[in-house]
């Protein structure tokens, strides 16, 4: 475990930040809804769930990765403020962009704002509208997360990056190709129980191995789908929350972000994500918890190999050993470490900017025991892991029901 450069002097001075409302749209193809309609739907659900009025909200933080490059719509913060009906009150509204981790980054910003005392109650949302992007452009839009000049220009893509990581991982750890296929199988099993999920079908290891090749050795079923969707949570102080609710308050125990070299070629090692290691070490320290305390994890399995490596970098398994544990049944809802009870990015769907907030929405439902058929038994602490590009940055949230 590397020595984390953690400075947490400010932790003792910050206010307790809690989530009092959570909501999301179904993830999937929403031909009938625009970006702004999706965002408004998720936002209103979170507000209703919190039992507050929109006038109680002091600021909006919205995660979105690609509206500019995919649909030529920028200034998303203002757009959402406008169509949630809050611009009439001149509410501060900011779009946060951090690749696929844009939603989690927006939550990190919202957390800082409430913890610091700048705002008391904020709406944090994430939205992406990928089915408005012409199919031939979609890979290129997503490749905006890697180095355009020195990776994508030469023909690399995010999927190619994941595939090169997978190949190197198999080479260094003598891992079997089948091991990498466990995460999508687990995600689909859980996604089949989630009404918000893009895909409801279950899959087997052989289905993953025999699916259409995207970037060898990875197939279509190693890759998360192109989804539309939006998700939102309401943050406030513990003091405010207690005036509103007696139970179901979820405290943010840790919110951390760490970066790494954007391109794979600049890193000494591509079989581990330094950003995930650093952000999670910092998060455990902030939450005063260890990996063994975590009740379940929502992983950034945009590609199967990302989820597998993250399990090791988050400290759940030693390097090169995730496959072995997954084979033994880790990851299932009734196992020691339930993975992606929501269905993960693979089955629940991956509307880039909405994904990170969506992981937190699921965690809130789980911690409040409102997750119906996919409920993890008696969860106490949830960990969400969101990542941009091929590990260019990682964002960790640890949540606790109070």
């Amino acid at each position: 475990m590397q020595n984390s450069r953690v400075k947490l002097r400010w932790v003792s001075k910050m206010r307790d930040v809690v989530i009092i409302g959570a909501g999301q749209t179904k993830f999937g193809e929403h031909w009938e809804k625009s970006l702004r309609e999706l965002a408004v739907e998720a936002g209103l659900r979170a507000i209703e769930d919190a039992g507050i009025y929109s006038k109680d909200i002091d600021a909006i933080y919205g995660g979105n990765m690609s509206a500019g490059s995919s649909t030529f719509q920028d200034n998303i913060g203002t757009l959402i403020a406008d169509f949630t009906g809050l611009a009439i009150n001149n509410i501060p509204a900011i779009r946060v962009e951090n690749g696929s981790a844009s939603g989690a980054a927006a939550l990190h910003e919202g957390f800082i704002a409430v913890a610091s005392g700048i705002y008391d109650t904020v709406l944090v949302g994430g939205v992406e509208k990928l089915t408005d992007v012409p199919m031939e452009n979609i890979t290129d839009v997503i490749s905006g997360e890697i180095d355009r000049e020195w990776e994508a220009f030469n023909g690399s893509t995010l999927a190619a990056s994941a595939a090169m990581i997978a190949r190197r991982y198999m080479y260094e750890y003598n891992a079997k190709r089948e091991h990498i296929a466990y995460i999508p199988v687990i995600s689909h099993r859980h996604g089949s129980l989630n009404p918000y999920a893009h895909y409801k079908n279950t899959i087997k290891i052989e289905d993953v191995l025999n699916s259409t090749i995207v970037a060898d050795p990875l197939t279509m079923l190693d890759c998360a789908p192109i989804s539309d969707g939006a998700s939102a949570v309401i943050l406030t102080t513990m003091e405010n929350a207690k005036k509103l609710k007696n139970d179901g308050i979820v405290r943010i125990k840790a919110s951390t972000l760490a970066s790494d070299f954007i391109s794979l070629h600049s890193r000494d090692n591509i079989t581990s994500f330094r950003s995930t290691i650093e952000a999670s070490r910092k998060a455990y320290k902030m939450a005063k918890l260890e990996p063994k305390d975590i009740s379940f994890v929502e992983l950034h399995d945009a590609y199967s190999i990302f989820g597998m490596i993250a399990l090791e970098d988050l400290g759940f398994f030693r390097k090169g050993e995730a496959g072995k544990y997954l084979e033994e049944g880790y990851g299932n809802l009734d196992s020691k470490l339930p993975i992606n009870p929501s269905g993960g990015l693979k089955a629940k769907g991956h509307p880039l900017g909405a994904t990170g907030v969506g992981q937190v929405v699921e965690s809130v439902f789980q911690l409040r025991k409102q997750a119906d058929k996919r409920q993890v038994s008696d969860p106490r602490y949830a960990l969400t892991h969101s990542m941009s590009g091929a590990g260019g940055s990682s964002i960790i949230h640890i949540l606790e029901v109070v």
Partner: protein, 132 residues
């Protein structure tokens, strides 16, 4: 890509010109203005450095995706090559079939057409790799 955006990288894309930090001696490609290890020590002092064109395959994949710029090449081999001078570079492997590619295989950089801006736009050249 507009002409200026491509033009300003000519020497890097055509001749593998990177930078070297005079403080720690590390070589970088693509070029950097700041050495991530030496920070202020390196600012304003990074030197141009022409890489030898040889290296070894660090990892690779065969891409089957539909990308407008590379449609006619599909499927093509993408790799990260560890150069003999130190830095790793992302580029395509050409003049080879996927079955013969292995991690550790020696390759050299060659000058090739990468993509074209549009049917009437500029043709963008750069490096690809071939097995030695």
């Amino acid at each position: 890509m507009t002409i200026p955006r491509f033009w300003r990288e000519f020497e890097h894309r055509y001749r593998l010109i990177g930078t070297k930090c005079p403080s720690c001696g590390r070589v970088y490609f693509p070029p950097r203005d700041v050495c991530p290890y030496c920070h202020r020590e390196s600012v304003g002092k990074m030197q141009k450095y022409e890489l030898k064109n040889t290296g070894k395959i660090y990892s690779f994949t065969v891409v089957y995706q539909d990308i407008p710029d590379f449609k006619e090449l599909k499927p093509y081999i993408m790799a990260i090559v560890e150069m003999d001078d130190g830095p790793k570079i992302t580029g395509q492997i050409v003049d080879a079939s996927p079955e013969e590619i292995k991690i550790g295989m020696p390759v050299k950089a060659v000058f090739r057409r990468i993509r074209e801006e549009s049917p009437s736009g500029i043709i963008e050249y750069g490096y690809k790799f071939v097995p030695i």
